[in-house]
Amino acid sequence: MATSTHTEDNESRIREGFICPICMEDLATDDQLLLHFEEAHNTEEDNDVLQAFKDFLGKAKKILKSDNPFEILEKTSSKSSQQKQDHVEWDPQDFGVIRSHWSDFRKFRSNRMDFYAAETNKLIIRLDKIVSCLPSEAAKRREHEQNIVTWVNDEDVQLCPQCAKSFNILRRKHHCRVCGTVQCHQCSQFLLLSFARKLTNPSYIPTLDDNKEKPSPPKRLTHAAFHALKRTGSTTSLTSLTSLIDTDTGEGHIRVCYYCKQLLERREQQMDSRSQNAVIAELYNEMRKYMEKGAELMPVFLKMLESFSQGESTYNLKDAQECRLKLLKIAEYVDGYSKKIQSLGIDDEKNPTSGTALSLQLKIRLSAVNFLKENLLGLPNLPTEEQLLVLQAERRQAIEKRIAQEKKAVFEKRETETRRQYMDNQKDFEAVSVDRGWGVETSNIRNVNESDDPMLQQMQIMRNYIQQARRANRYDDVVILEANLRDLQIEHERMQSQS
């Protein structure tokens, strides 16, 4: 610490203030010390020392005055490195061996994380024990607290570990209630009981009637805290008392050290962020639910629409309109939820959303917009009842036409099939026929006198046929024909005799 430059450990005695490094004289202010140094020790041999001292003091002053001493240190060091670079021109360097330290980093980090997690858990457990059955009476309360956490001995601590100031009547020793370490009142922090309860109870939600549930009313607790301070065996400092009252906003609290408070606050932040995530997750889930509903309903609606446009009467127009309204409502919901998610935490002035959380929210909104654009935006209108009637009439006509065509096609198909069957039969037939059939030529019997008796005419024809058969060497047929000719002759004679 910067303050340590002014203090010197002299035979285990601590001296504080602006002390001359040469004659060890304590001076009131730094200006006085400088003046004294110039006057008393301004000799030739001391010049170097003086210069060095001046530099040193100036630097220290600068650091002390600034809010963040380390910033200046860093600045000066970076300045010096820049100066170095100005003086020396480095050759461009190639990358040498590259080694991944990721696993080392992981190892150390997880060790550290485990440590902090374990530490925090320990604190939470202790806090839980303290808070769960906190006696309202000061003496009992202290006993209760000490039962849970072993307090560090007062004698072992000379200086406040936070501010390194010595304890005295005005600067009393105080114990952290969860780790038992000693610090001064200035350095100690306070946990509100509600805060402690929130930490120890994961499902804790602060409510209006929370105050009533508390084991002890706030005023009495202030009183108890006052007594507890008194019970440490020392008179209560006025400052600590006032500060206690100032910080106390009417709620009980627990004294903790800076480190414990940090750990616990981080824990609370984690819990808060988790609960905040839950909000966004809840909204997102709700949005998803509507999106899924929409995605489910959309094809149904489109199917209906297509059916209508085809003039079908499968669906009811009223149902389709209802379906369309539902879809529009879903679109509205999705839009609303995504907008809510996008603007989540933006109005929060203390802790505005930023970084990955913000980009996540934006992306959710974007995906919702895309979903709406793709599916639900510009939802096609349903045909009106008159349009529907026209479409249906068109469809009827089309169907009739198609049926006629189909009938025709079937008929044609059947016809070709039957024709093919005849052909097949013909083939079969040809396959089984022993010889080609034979028939008489009827064209060369035109010269037959038609006025003649048909019987005589036929006998003449038969003679012609017999000749043909003979020429064709169809003697079997000749026999048949001759037989027929004889029949005809007999018949003719019979008819002649009858007449």
Partner: protein, 227 residues
């Protein structure tokens, strides 16, 4: 073959031997059937036969004078069936010749034109005449020809079918032009005709059996079976 042997034995040995054709020996049974076509003129009798016998079709078929004669042989399972077809003229003036041809016929095809109701009526008259005067065992087939002109149909299929069923006729709608059902109707007749000619010939009526054997047919005058 056994049947044929018996019959050959009844006839003279020389005639029987001469009658046995080489194809008859190699084939199973040989049956010969006399078939006559009847019907109004211009219904397509000649076309039907021409399609069946020669596989031809003439758009402008000359009208038949008297009766034409054609033969066709078909194989039915192990039986060879020879059709001896008499295609009669439809004109009224040749009507007197018809009995000469349906007498002694084992089968008859009565043809009508499906586009002409009158021809169907005439066909019915022919059927009646056959039932009265032809051989009682004659197989009659009713053929509704010109089925390719179904668009101009005047005789309903069911009407003709019903009539055919009532009278125990074979019935088909045919088309000589497209060859539809032409072979089928002849084959159907061939199937329906009795082929156990030997036994049937001996025990059956005078006309039926004898016609079926060529040996007998060749030896004896046709008049013996046809009064």
């Amino acid at each position: 073959m056994a049947n044929r042997g018996n019959q050959a034995g009844t006839a003279t040995a020389a005639a029987g031997g001469a009658a046995q054709r080489p194809n008859g020996a190699t084939q199973g049974k040989i049956c010969q059937f006399k078939l006559v076509l009847l019907g109004e003129s211009a219904v397509g009798k000649s076309s039907l036969v021409l399609r069946f016998v020669k596989g031809q079709f003439h758009e402008y078929q000359e009208s038949t004078i008297g009766a034409a004669f054609l033969t066709q042989t078909v194989c039915l399972d192990d039986t060879t069936v020879k059709f001896e077809i008499w295609d009669t003229a439809g004109q009224e003036r040749y009507h007197s010749l018809a009995p000469m041809y349906y007498r002694g016929a084992q089968a008859a095809i009565v043809v009508y034109d499906i586009t002409n109701q009158d021809t169907f009526g005439r066909a019915k008259v022919w059927v009646k005449e056959l039932q009265r005067q032809a051989s009682p065992n004659i197989v009659i087939a009713l053929a509704g020809n010109k089925a390719d002109l179904a668009a101009k149909r005047a005789v309903e299929f069911d009407e003709a079918k019903g009539y055919a069923e009532e009278n125990g006729l074979l019935f088909m709608e045919t088309s000589a032009k497209t060859a539809m059902n032409v072979n089928d109707i002849f084959l159907a007749i061939a199937k329906k005709l009795p082929k156990n000619d030997g036994a049937g010939g001996v025990g059956g009526s005078s006309g039926q059996g004898r016609r079926l054997d060529r040996a007998e047919d060749g030896n004896k005058p046709a008049s013996s079976c046809c009064k």
